[in-house]
Symmetry: C2
Subunit: 390 residues, 2 copies
């Protein structure tokens, strides 16, 4: 395999080489003043990318997005609490599956059809009627490419006792999130998607309201390793340059995270979000020009990942394996009831990657006899890219 392969699955991705080089840092232990500075800097930058203030606390723990998910709910729940899960796919449903291990009652709200999100008004209505202790939204569901808007719900819940947890695994660093304006209490993500760092870090942001709840809640359901009270203390100690110990931070990944955040802030979050919008538009439009449908409805389209529907005659497995053999890793669908494939376009993705990916998909469809000519997808993408000055 050539290491130059394009990794267009919805995470892991193609990382910036400068970020990868940071992973090989030597001579650094978790309590050295140099690492303490780096970790503190990374935490500060984590606030910046989601427009959080000093009063928000980011937390970085060795683990995956799923660890982030479990920590994000269990720390704010106690026995008998009620949770509303808004699910637009596999990862929304994961909240439900996860919570079934805990002594809480969980209701699930789903869109009318796969590919839609749930109307904010519907969510608010149910929450007002039922008075949940915690509500979860999946900002972008990696299985469907559906983006669930946050702000309207967040504004409504902000001054209530309900904690709003947002799964930002497939969105943070690519989609617009403003912790304050969006009224998010707990946001979590993994490192290997739009944040552009190899997998192994779960990152969680806590609002002042969440921090208050953390302090007050008696007998939270969190496992020991996911005890955010302990982790918040550790993070604060690093920011105060007097590190305390709970578990050894994933030093090398944190150093790489700092580097990636530096690159993200140099680009600027607004530019970055716009880039994700333009590149995803080019990709979606190309797929449509090839006669394919997008799983996510227009109103709820994510910009970090696209799920593309295939006619029943086309074999998604064949398409994906041809693309891989041609040097572009894309992913099969996660839902069994739909014939589709998924393409991630996030982090340091660029127009070259998008063009090459569209080209491979065209050739794969041509081989399977679905297309009788090549070039329509590329042409459409070119038009979109040119229109946006790319």
């Amino acid at each position: 395999m050539s290491e130059r392969r394009l990794v267009m699955v919805p995470g892991p991705i193609n990382y910036e080489p400068s970020v990868l080089r940071e992973l090989a840092v030597s001579g650094l232990d978790h309590t050295s003043p140099e690492f303490v500075e780096i970790f503190a800097d990374a935490l500060g930058k984590l606030r910046e990318i989601v427009y959080a203030g000093k009063e928000h606390q980011p937390v970085v723990i060795a683990g995956t997005g799923t660890l982030g998910m479990e920590a994000s709910v269990t720390n704010f729940l106690t026995k008998g609490n009620r949770v509303l899960v808004v699910s637009n796919g596999y990862f929304g449903d994961r909240f439900k599956e996860l919570l079934s291990r805990y002594p809480v009652k969980t209701d699930v709200l789903r869109p009318d059809t796969i590919g839609n999100g749930v109307e904010a008004s519907r969510i608010i209505e149910v929450v007002e009627k039922e008075g949940y202790d915690l509500v979860t939204l999946t900002h972008v569901d990696t299985s469907t490419g559906v983006l669930q808007p946050i702000r309207e719900v967040g504004k409504k819940l902000r001054n209530t006792g309900t904690i709003l947890v947002v799964d930002g695994v497939c969105s943070v660093g690519g989609e617009e999130i403003n912790l304050v304006e969006d009224g998010v209490d707990v946001l979590f993500t993994g490192s290997q998607k739009a944040l552009g760092v190899p997998p192994g870090l779960a990152i969680i942001w806590l609002s002042p309201k969440a921090l208050e709840k953390l302090k007050e809640l008696k007998e939270p359901l969190s496992p020991y390793y996911m005890d955010l009270k302990k982790w918040v203390e550790v993070m604060r100690s690093y920011e105060e340059k007097k590190p305390v110990y709970f578990g050894t931070p994933a030093v090398n990944l944190v150093v790489a995270l700092r580097k990636s955040l530096e690159l993200i802030l140099r680009e600027g979050m607004e530019n970055r979000v716009r880039r994700h919008m333009v590149l995803s538009e080019a990709f979606r439009e190309a797929m449509k020009a090839l006669g394919l449908g997008i799983l996510a409805s227009e109103k709820y389209t994510a910009h970090t990942i696209t799920a593309v529907k295939l006619p029943s005659g086309i074999d998604a497995g064949l398409l994906v394996s041809f693309a891989r053999s041609a040097g572009v890793a894309i992913a099969r669908g996660l839902l069994k009831e739909v014939n589709y494939f998924r393409v991630g376009h996030m982090g340091p993705v660029n127009a070259n990657d998008i063009i090459a990916t569209i080209a491979v998909i065209e050739r794969a469809l041509y081989r399977q006899g679905y297309l009788s000519r090549l070039g329509d997808g590329l042409l459409r993408a070119q038009e979109v890219l040119a229109r946006h000055g790319f």
Copy 2:
């Protein structure tokens, strides 16, 4: 800071440069055939370093040793179960603290004095009398440098219903462990110590007995992310080259792990254990030649880490910060009731590192006025090294 600094804390350590380079691997996603091969190879090698058979299952999860600890106990316990924790320090006590969050009853067995281990006969007697569902041993407690022998206890428990969990965080890859002969059911470690891989991986080995219990136990207490049933399925799927998804593996760390395991097996575990024995002996003897005491008693001395006692007049903080400023990172004690410092000597540590570390400690003690002349520690270490042909 020079990245050539010696990292002689008890983990993180100085990694092999070839292992660090692997971290920067590009173009690899978690389902690519290339990564599947690498992960399967790493799992096979993980069996080899602890002399496990095909019937043992290693599991690699993104997280720290503490995650490994929580997964290792909660999957084998159900409400009302009884646990015996054998604790020789901070990390033994961590089992107790962790288990206090779960509906089980935990008893703790401690040595008569700090620095001792617990007699196997005493453990066996208590287990036979009380009939615990699970017993934990800390093979090497990083806080005290005490090694708790496993085999006698393991042989006794092997044919009983009791699950033997061993914390190998500060031992696997440096101390001798033979899963079969030692009768260990669940062994866990972190990547950043004697295994020689940057922090971020928890590794767990399960015996056939543990795998059976995993299958049979109704309502285990494990959190969702730590559900070993799910992870065992994932590991087996990678070994069968048909990966299933639960959480994204820490791809780059796993690639580095494979490399480090390759180096470990090339050296050979017997040679590796002997190297740890010789280097730790040289270090201990040097400390004694300087008039310092070793916290661990001779019978229970670890070979991966040494805790060195200081006379009350010597400031451990000053000693550690001088050493750091001189390019050797060593660690303060974790227990408050003893004036001591800790030195890790594990993984790819060599005689040069040991000599340089002893030299720095000599100079630090000389500066503080504790030593009136230099060289006694070095001379003693030289004699030990030369005697062993190093």
